[in-house]
Amino acid sequence: MRETYRTHSEEETVALGEKLAGCLAPGAVVLLIGTLGAGKTTIAKGIVKGLGAAAPDEVSSPTFTLIHEYGDPPAVYHVDLYRIDEPAQLDSLGLEELFDRRAVVLVEWGDRFPEFWPADRFEILLRRRDDTEREIEFRRSVPGGSP
């Protein structure tokens, strides 16, 4: 599965996230891939909203705290590995525990540790085309399937 979208504002990116949330069942792991300022946290706002876990304004960058939870019990874990440099540090975060809970796990900067994630996962690639336009690719990688 692979679909590509164009958005032209933050609002459209949030709306796309909301729509994509419909494809995500509890237990799904989603890597948000893109450079600084590509819109990773913005699309996370939409996904959190689409899953009914919190309003977009309540979703902020987890860079400092590493993991934000939304919903009670948490329906979404929003993880940010910007500050993590070594796989050894990653191992100690206890992320595997999150995979076993009935929640969607969103991960920013997770593509830097490709071997860490379940083979069956979603990836959202965000590319900045200009100040407001983003090309956003949504794909599912399934073990043994085409990449």
Partner: protein, 359 residues
Amino acid sequence: MRILGIETSCDETAAAVVEDGVRILSSVVASQLDTHGKYGGVVPELASREHLRAIVPVVREALQRAGSTYGDLAAVAATEGPGLVGSLLVGLTFAKGLCFARGLPLIAVNHLEGHIHAVMLEARQRGEEIRFPALALVVSGGHTHLYEIKEPGSYRLLGRTRDDAAGEAYDKVAKLLGFSYPGGPVIDQLARYGNPEAVRFTRARMKGNPLDFSFSGLKTAVLRWFEKRDMEAEVRARRELLRHNPRPSIEDWLAVTPRETLDLLASFQATVIDELLRRAAASAGQIGARSMIISGGVACNAGLREAARSAHLSVPVYFPTPGLSTDNAAMIAAAAFPKYRRGEFAGFDVKARANLALA
């Protein structure tokens, strides 16, 4: 009456003894900056491990310096959140154990309320009285929040960041440009050498609540500026400097930072300060504030302090001294006194809460 405060929400292990809510008998802070500096940020597993190593000697030293024993204490206060759960647990569990063993009451304190109380404690020390309603801006690496304090202990959230915290924007810009962690102090010092009007950054315009903050657009604008220029050589020179000298002096930094980059830093800092103060002033007006409190790690920023002084705000602005701006335990003990008087004690089942809200 003495309260022992314990703070371990992030990368500082801190303990303090405060008497009667006004006299700091001791305040010990063991920073993990050396451990985390090389990782460009706080690493949770390292943080918990370092807290575990430090908590016993730090508490012991706080008691010794205060000339106190466990028998002198009326209560033990610890931070319950927000913060890194693994870190919070070390301080909170230690406090529970101590209370259980000594039969002392346990007081759970919100870290953000602690930052506000740091300012209130110092005002009391000077014999000044902060007038209410007050507007509080708590601004650090993890927080950028505006609160109305109707009266001591009564908080209402007015605005907060929708993406990056102000201190986080400093850290990310510093990392991008090859400066050290944390980014605030080095950018603050270098900004003085640049022209704050050289780069015009667009101010964030918030749909919905106009008192919310956004620093993500500014961070992206710095990235665009960076990408349009060939800065690889100077970034490499700065990383090289850091490899040989983890604590460069301002002269060392100036030697590897061209004018244009100093102008960028000055413009970035001016924009952050303007965003913070503009919304703080607007909030203060909206609630009819009679004073303003600015606290948290970013309150150390000399540029912010100067701008607040020269902004001629209609209300007095209170900053904590630098030692009480960054994380410390005296503020946790100070925040515990009113709770002690109200009999607000925590059970031993109180949990560390990463996302604990103040209001």
